[in-house]
């Protein structure tokens, strides 16, 4: 009984406290009706732990000057010299409690579990039960008599019951609650639940896992029973705070006798239910999205510039601002007299409160600046003390001297999503030269950019960088250049220096982000499965999940192939420009892309470039003439597949035999495809690509497409078989991952690739081996032991040693080139209803515990995400974000044995998978269990 604080408190409460808890009055449930049909709009951001999530999709609106306000309306179109709308993402926090109460009902057998929440919201209890004899952590559905009215069964393992507004909340407690009645003599051993807020799509868990209310002496050492030492991992600020537990130390109470009596007849000697009441702190974060529009005009009567700020932020908004002169970005103060409502703040900035608009819809402000002022830097402060800035940086509004200079100059200085502009070289050399100019230009651009940044830096050494994105884009460029050097050294060709020296000549740079590998902290969601086309309204269905996906921590979503297709799933495209597919119309597609952008998620288009189905037959009756906007003839088809009688060159890769394979060596094909991809980028708004079947053509063409379309993120599907000997996977899969690396190299390192190697090896560490099953069966029969019984534990494969390669690194692509590896355990082909190469059933969470803690960019499959695995996956994702595990994190493998694999990532996260034992060393670091499930466990360094 000592050590109460660390043990799950609930056990003690169960034994010690009386069910008669005086403070708790039974409250009658009253129907609660709120009109939820109008879901709150503009839910954005994510629940990452950063103060506010940098919104990567800073949208530059066209100069439409939509201000409805008091501006002089003289010749707007010519006066506006700058206009930009910034998205402001912030998080509103509300604190409250989740109350969990166990009460005796009308007699000793009938008990009631009450779960309440003191915060407003559309709360839903997502719950299930454990029965006697259950093993593992899966839930079961409760018996129907247990389900409160309004409950909905979710698949076959859980129930969703909405919380209803409770009546007598005289002391301000529990606004919403739900009661579950049950008979304590049933075979239920525990009730598990999580709480979900349907308004934000957020899940609220207990220490990253389900809440567990044990109804018998809980046999396992789980620490996520209600009443354990910590609060919700959901929000780290209050870790370690003990929840308020009403620990009634009154010894045995009369009522306990009843329990004893009731249990006397039953076989469960330990079924001594005792009531308890517990409150656990809860913070609800509601991401909010507002906008800020900045418009700069030339004053009609003088050379002064008018800066107009307009925002729909509610309440008081204070602008902290300065002015810049001579084209640099140094904050300076304005000479007196100061504008009205403006004061000097700590001698470093000017502070102006924006005027609340007359209609109350936000605030606005005017700033009149002299003509020699070249820039207007500012940040915003809200009345709750929140600072809003531009992706971690000051907002900076360039104030060019004349209209001609315009904003292009400033765009250059801030590396952002610009479009590639023409290269600036006077060299007239053949096309090889052209290909080389762009990288040079880009790198020189970055170097110049760095110079700009440095000039901006003051003596304050701690704060010397631009945004993290700039950092990342530089890193990506470094890796791309290294990949280029690598492939040349490998092939070791000799050329001459003359050309090289010319390349190094200074050329005026245009800066764009070239690497299609994201920020390094991306987490992907594959947003469909093999059946998604069936409803015909997938885009609409997915749109509803956007906010939830964002709050789960995803940053990129992969949408299904959008084109008209011969097969409903979309992988047999026909008319590339027809984007009305079984998933929805082109307008629905645009809408879903927009919605994802609003919640800060980038969108990948699944593009099939390897093959295309023809519209017409040729004179021989062969389907090889295309229609639609790209009406290619048989020259666009590779020559080496006799089925389609192509007249192009031989294929540069493997052939996909079900449709004509496109010959990418043809200039007109590449030009058309680049145009098409550009159109998808611009008109649909895709941020990047998932490239289907890239085995079918040379990676160099992919580089060409990537360079032409400048995606934020791109990943290729290079899927071929691992090495097997007599059905047993070989330990060394270097050849397999080398083929993937070779493809990435051929693509110039500009795109990532799915880490098929890692998936394959994860398969092999703990599955039933069919060969072994067969051999064992055979052996059993000949040895006369048995005819058909095979003990599974004998056959279960335990080969976790495979997860360390001979050099002690991860054996997949992530061991060699993690920043280009997209890890996954399942997709629409391998799993879903196709099941070509399904991940071993029941082991999925081990797979996710691996990929979500390891370097590489993890991709979560839709079917897994929207399953009972969600709470666990969500906990792993939030840990990944919290600990800032990136695609380049460093793995230290500490154990790779028969039955257990364990690794420490970046020294911040420890994990193990497999049934074997591992605990992180209790040295200088203190480790605490963050997520735990069947045969896996993840710790975080405190």
């Amino acid at each position: 009984m000592s050590g109460v604080a660390l043990e799950p408190v609930l056990h003690h409460t169960l034994r010690q406290s009386s069910p008669n808890i005086p403070r708790i009055k039974h409250r009658k449930s009253v129907p609660f009706s709120v009109n939820f049909s109008s879901r709150s709009v503009k839910i954005g951001g994510s629940l990452s732990l950063s103060f506010f999530k940098p919104n990567k999709s800073l949208s530059v609106t066209t100069c439409s000057a939509t201000s409805t306000s008091t501006l002089p309306k003289t010749s707007e179109s010519t006066d506006v010299i700058y206009s930009e709308t910034f998205q402001l993402t912030r998080v509103e926090k509300a604190e409250g409690q989740i109350c969990v109460r166990l009460n005796q009902g009308k007699d000793v057998d009938h008990w009631q579990l009450t779960v309440g929440c003191s915060l407003p919201g559309k709360w839903v209890l997502h719950w299930g039960v454990h029965y006697v004899g259950d093993t593992g952590s899966e839930w079961d559905q409760p018996p129907s008599e247990m389900r409160p009215p309004g409950s909905i069964a979710v698949k076959d393992y859980a129930i969703e019951t909405p919380l209803r507004k409770s009546s007598g909340s005289e002391d301000g407690e529990c606004l919403h609650e739900v009661n579950i009645d049950f008979n304590c003599n049933s075979k239920i051993t525990a009730i598990n639940f999580v709480l979900k807020d349907e308004e934000t799509g957020s899940w609220y868990q207990h220490k990253g896992r389900d809440f567990v209310v044990p109804l018998v002496e809980y046999p396992r050492d789980h620490d996520n029973v209600v009443g354990a030492k910590r609060g919700f991992d959901f929000w780290p600020g209050t870790f370690g705070k003990l929840s308020k537990v009403l620990l009634k130390d009154e010894g045995p109470q009369p009522n306990a006798e009843g329990s004893v009596a009731a249990s006397a007849g039953s076989t469960h000697a330990n079924r001594l239910l005792e009531g308890f009441y517990e409150e656990l702190p809860l913070v609800k974060k509601v991401p909010l999205c507002n906008t800020l529009t900045v418009t700069v005009r030339k004053s009609p009567e003088s050379a002064k510039k008018l800066v107009y700020l307009e925002t729909d932020l509610p309440g008081d908004v204070v602008v902290h601002w300065g002015v810049c002169r001579d084209g640099n970005k140094k904050w300076e103060l304005l000479a007196a007299p100061l504008p009205p409502d403006t004061e000097i703040f700590k001698n470093k900035a000017l502070r102006t409160r924006l005027q609340i608009k007359k209609d109350g819809s936000g605030a606005e402000g005017f700033f009149t600046l002299e003509k020699e002022i070249t820039g207007f830097p500012f940040v915003l402060k809200l009345n709750d003390g929140t600072w809003l800035n531009n992706k971690g940086d000051d907002y900076f509004i360039p104030l060019p001297a004349t209209q001609e200079e315009n904003l292009s100059q400033e765009k250059e200085a801030s590396i952002s999503t610009g479009s590639p502009s023409g290269s600036v070289t006077t060299d007239e050399k053949p096309s090889i030269e052209d290909q080389e100019v762009a990288p040079t230009t880009y790198t020189d651009g970055i170097i110049k950019e760095i110079r700009n940044i440095v000039t901006d830096i003051s003596s304050e050494k701690k704060w010397k960088t631009k945004s993290k994105e700039t950092q990342e884009s530089i890193l990506h460029e470094i890796e791309r250049l290294a990949a280029e050097a690598y492939s040349i050294f490998r092939s070791s060709s000799t050329t001459f220096l003359e050309e090289a020296v010319q390349e190094a000549e200074e050329v005026e740079p245009t800066i764009t982000i070239r690497s299609a590998t994201g920020s390094g902290y991306e987490i992907l969601c594959q947003g469909f499965n093999w059946e998604s086309h069936k409803s015909g309204r997938w885009y609409l269905e997915l749109q509803e999940k956007a906010a939830e996906l964002s709050s789960l921590g995803f940053t990129v979503i992969w949408l299904p192939p959008p084109t008209e297709s011969v097969s409903p799933e979309g992988y047999m495209p026909k008319d590339l420009y027809n984007l009305n597919s079984r998933y929805g119309t082109i307008d629905e597609l645009k809408a879903v892309v927009k919605t994802f952008h609003q919640v800060g998620i980038k969108v990948l288009g699944d593009v099939v470039l390897n093959h295309r189905c023809a519209h017409y037959k040729n004179q021989n009756g062969i389907w090889n003439v295309f229609g639609g906007r790209l009406n290619w003839d048989d020259r666009a088809i590779v020559a080496d597949d006799p089925h389609f009688q192509g007249r192009g060159n031989k294929s540069s890769g493997d052939n996909f035999h079900a449709a004509p394979n496109i010959d990418h060596s043809q200039d007109f094909v590449r030009k058309d495809l680049k145009e098409w991809l550009g159109w998808l980028r611009k008109d649909i708004g895709y941020d990047g690509w998932r490239l289907d079947f890239v085995r079918g053509f040379w990676g160099g063409y992919v580089k060409d497409y990537i360079d032409a379309t400048q995606p934020y993120f791109a990943v290729g599907e290079y899927w071929d078989s691992l090495s097997y000997t007599y059905g047993e996977m070989e330990y060394n899969q270097d050849a397999h991952r080398q083929r993937i690396i070779d493809w990435i190299n051929a693509a110039g390192g500009s795109a990532g690739a799915f880490d098929v190697t890692t998936k394959g090896i994860l398969h092999a560490v703990s599955v039933y081996s069919f060969i072994r099953v067969f051999l064992q069966y055979f052996w059993n029969v000949v040895s006369g032991w048995t005819t058909n019984v095979i003990a599974p534990q004998v056959l279960e494969r335990c080969e976790y040693w495979r997860l360390s390669d001979p050099k002690g690194k991860p054996p997949g692509v992530i061991g060699w080139w993690p920043s280009r590896a997209i890890t996954f355990i399942e997709n629409h082909d391998t799993g879903s209803t196709q099941g070509h190469w399904r991940f071993p059933g029941g082991k999925e969470m081990q797979g996710y515990a691996y990929i979500l803690t390891h370097p590489g960019t993890p991709s979560v499959f839709y079917d897994h995400l929207f399953s009972h695995y969600q709470p666990e996956i969500s906990a792993l994702i939030s840990l990944r974000n919290k600990k800032k595990i990136s695609c380049r994190s460093i793995v230290k493998i500490v154990k790779a044995e028969r039955d257990v694999y364990a690794a420490v990532i970046d020294g911040k996260v420890a994990m193990k998978i497999g049934p074997g034992y591992y605990e992180p060393p209790s040295g200088a670091q203190h480790w605490s269990v963050a997520v735990e499930g069947r045969d896996y466990k993840v710790w975080e360094a405190l």
Binding site: T443, S458, K461, I478, A485
Partner: protein
Amino acid sequence: MLIICCINSGKVCNDTALISNFQADDTRLFVGLPLDVVSEDNEVVNEKAIISGLKALRLLGVEGVELPIWWGIVEKEAVGKYNWSSYLSIVELVQKMGLQVQVSLCFHASQQPKIPLPDWVSLIGESDPNIFFADRIGQRYKDCLSLSVDDLPVLEGKSPMEVYKGFFESFKSSFASFMGSTITDVVIGLGPDGELRYPSCHLAANPEDPIGVGEFQCYDKYMLEQLKQYGESNGNPLWGLGGPHDVPTYDQPPSVDTFFKDQGGSWETPYGVFFLSWYSSQLISHGDRILSLAASVLRDSSVNIAGKLPLVHTWFKTRSHPSELTAGFYNTATSDGYDEVVKMFAKNACRIVLPGMDLLDDYQRDRASPQRLIAQIKETCGKHRVHVSGQNTLVSETSDGFEEMRKNLSKENEVVDSFTYQRMGTNFFAPEHFRFFIAFVQKINQLDANAYDKAEDMGRVEAMHLGMKMG
């Protein structure tokens, strides 16, 4: 700090003055260009890859590159006939990239990649093999000249010192416009692999990582003549007739025969002291000759002059340190062999290049200790105020190796103020290696992810709105 370093390296840019105050506490980091960046035929090899590599390094914040310049390529055809063209174009290219150059002048030959001595020197060697080192049974080491001929007119009437002098002068005038700006350091080749040592292990089964003690290399004609003189002048003419007889062969451990035995070995006898003193002082005199020559020619070019020491750590944990003895360092349990060596560098105001900073004792054979030897040399350098440029031995594929390098560069080790990572090539740019390298550079530039995040978090709340950019 990533960004600062980029600019630090750009001395050619005028805007560097703005941030010069950051320079002081940064470690200068160089990366070696491939040994064969200029081919035997005097052409630049893989220059596209080099350009990509240079850009990547520039973005990463590396200070510059190390450029090996080979005697056998520049002065290939005839004495006094120099061809610097390819090297000049590389230096020019590096300058355009805003990087700096550390030049290594290599007076030795290389087996892998194959870079020979000048043709005319090899020809002379065929007729007079005594210009090369020889071991006890007369086997020659033909990848550099024996230190015994330094001042003898064996090269078409000139001494090697005179030939080197011509080489230095030609180098200085050919690269005059880069000296002190783009070219900041010149490392002078001092012997086998450019290092100040005897080629004591060249016939070992694995010369890079010998298991045995190696052999003394004092058996060429001129070396024996000098030993004889030394014996006579010391009143022990019989001792001057040859090297010790009771020594093991290349791949044998010190326990074989009696010379290196830990207890009562001949190395501790008066004869042992006589021989070892002479053998090691010959090496130091040789180093002194070349470095003072180089200093006299290059001193006014405002470049750092350096020479490279080997890291002979095999058998370091025995009393006799046999591998160091055969390599020419009289460093035993009873004698500090590096003090005189470092003093010689100090006298010539030269830096020391010291390899092996990535090596950990844990990964070595049981009597070796790279870490202790490095500690000893660093301490000696600290004592004589000689600055050290660290190097790694191999392209490292483990984070442990990088961690050791980082430790060697940390603040407590101020004596090591620059580092040259060896070297560019296929393995260097391989993704599985390169990401470690990125992490390493970021760490020594104090920009690890945590520091950045910390700055970001702190900065966001407090500093941002106050306008950190206001100076």
